[in-house]
Symmetry: C2
Subunit: 360 residues, 2 copies
């Protein structure tokens, strides 16, 4: 078996032992004679897989009892519409903080359902930082305040939880959920597409404070009405069952690594290897403000951009893939989610040093 | 490896060779060093998987060029809302034919978006037949006519395509798509959740005539706007990529079996084994009108219902699972989709004969 270091921003690398277990169990899950893909979602086998996944996620994130955990479909992009449809609660405005490509998408979509107020933006800084919270223009009558906790494209991450008073804080955590412990009680709602730190694309996790439910707009499709799904343990319709199974294996893997505190230590160490190298000289550089640098997505540039393709080709020869930056920002990007082994980051840093020595 | 005969109504049995290929390729797809789950949906590897799946589906169903093929998320239940949101085109009413549990669900959900007219219903017959088309009250001003081409719970199937004139015909084909050839040009829109004849839950296929697009309600979430997804080849957001890969393997498997004409022959033979036995005596019976019996889901009853549990227990001992009828109708149900081998149906019929001999 050949394995590469896959720096894709998502869908992204998964733990090899999770994939190996999935392969072994593919045709016959635990002696049942069925693949998980073939199981009725209402049967005892899948229910046990589902309940274990929910319990493990609750444990990993210490999710308080007054929060629902839902496994829905449609990805975070669907949530850009479904959050306002579910959470406006008869109110007419929502505050959004714009920190880059994903925030901007959320803002555009929410505008179909309410008056969006951009409470703060780092657009003038080229989305290279989190706007200073002292300058946020928060509206106490807003239905919620929306942030993107990690901008996958720009590589900008919140390393704090903003205080939004009585207005619920909503976070798109698609690209940094489960990378470190968080205080869920500080949030009204957390959502995340699975395809970075959780599992395969097609699973969307919603963690929502129960008192915010029951006020969805009448036009909300039933399967995307959080309250209706909460009443049915996410099984108002057939869930993305195989994806939930893989997510559950990932939760077990994180637990075996020592949980989120251990993940944070590993993730800080991995990111430091790259940022330390980027800051060492001028051949490479990081465009992001030091205090707001993402531990998950590390964008960087070569001083001489005419070497970009050569850099990518050399990386590919060394089995390091998907290092090209998003087309909207250019340059390079190394996505180093939970499942990226330290060895992958070390190999990248070693290659960067070699490349610099050859071309610097 | 242990394998059972899994008669689940969905998620349901998949072809063993598809599962085996998926297991073999799980950690390293075709020498790329990545699982399909780990691939960027915009990378050349996944794009090749996606394009092959679309092309194979188009070939299997002979889909005309003026139809879009979309791979979305949310299952058929989401489409109960998304069909009216996308297809009302400024009109205010839609016709629905009620043939059972799934039609009824579609009707309830559509009522949130338009005035639903029930053009025909078999409710008075206990949903055991398709209402005679001569009695359908079709409204020429309806935005569309909606049918469920196969009622998974009641075991009632359309063996003809109703003529709806200039009003587009919309069909929920979740549980009989790909079971036989169909004339796609007779439909305005076909939708299907994957988890019966296509692949894992979480993939939803939409086949829609292009001239019906571009009129979605403004409140339609962008990722569920058919036109926007058509413009982006279903990649406005990250699709359920692993599910699409499995669906693609199933399409290839169907092609190797001889395509849909061969599937129909096999499916007719399999269903006949069961219906012939059910009609032979009075120990077992089928509640469905002979002309409307489903080739996919075969509900049946024991004359003496006090033997139900004993029948199920005996089936389980012989590795035949999921034969219990849906709780709303009781009795038994054998779902015998494409991937159920003839040997499974023969084993079930043989067991039924044994059971009758013991208890009859």
């Amino acid at each position: 078996m050949n394995r590469v270091f896959n720096f894709s921003a998502g869908p992204a690398v998964l733990p090899l032992e999770v994939l190996q277990q999935a392969a072994e169990e593919m045709c016959d899950w635990q002696g049942t004679g069925m693949s998980v893909m073939e199981m009725s979602h209402r049967g005892p086998q899948f229910i046990s897989i589902y309940e274990r996944a929910v319990a493990d996620l609750r444990k990993l994130l210490s999710i308080p009892d007054d929060y629902e955990v839902l496994f829905l479909q449609g990805g975070a992009t669907a949530q850009n519409a479904l959050v306002p449809m579910n959470l406006l609660r008869g109110l007419t405005t929502a505050d959004y903080v714009n920190t880059g490509a994903w925030s901007s998408k959320s803002i555009r979509e929410a505008g179909k359902y309410c008056q969006v107020k951009v409470a703060a933006s780092s657009e003038a800084q080229g989305f290279t930082c989190i706007p200073d919270v002292a300058d946020w223009q928060l509206d106490p009558k807003a239905a919620y305040v929306h942030i993107c906790s990690n901008e996958t494209i720009g590589g900008v991450e919140y390393h704090f939880v903003p205080d939004t008073g009585d207005v619920p804080l909503v976070a798109d955590m698609s690209s940094n959920i489960l990378s470190r412990p968080i205080d869920v009680s500080r949030f009204g709602l957390i959502y995340a597409g699975a395809q970075k730190n959780i599992g395969p694309a097609g699973v969307t996790i919603i963690i929502v404070r129960k008192d915010l439910l029951e006020h969805a707009m009448p036009s909300t499709p039933s399967v995307f009405n959080y309250q209706l799904q909460a009443e049915k343990d996410s099984m108002l319709n057939t869930p993305s069952s195989y994806g939930i199974y893989i997510a559950g294996l990932v939760f077990q893997w994180i637990d075996r690594q020592g949980g989120l505190a251990a993940m944070e230590t590993r993730n800080r160490e991995k990111a430091a290897i790259l940022y330390d190298y980027l800051d060492r000289g001028e051949f490479f550089s990081s465009p992001v403000a030091i205090s707001d640098r993402s531990l998950m997505n590390v964008p960087f540039r070569l001083r001489d951009e005419s070497l970009n393709q050569q850099f990518l080709d050399g990386a590919q020869e060394r089995d390091m893939l998907q290092l090209k930056g998003h087309r909207s920002v250019g340059g390079m990007r190394a996505s180093i989610y939970n499942a990226m082994p330290r060895a992958g980051v070390e190999a990248l840093a070693a290659y960067m040093a070699d490349f610099e020595q050859q071309h610097g």
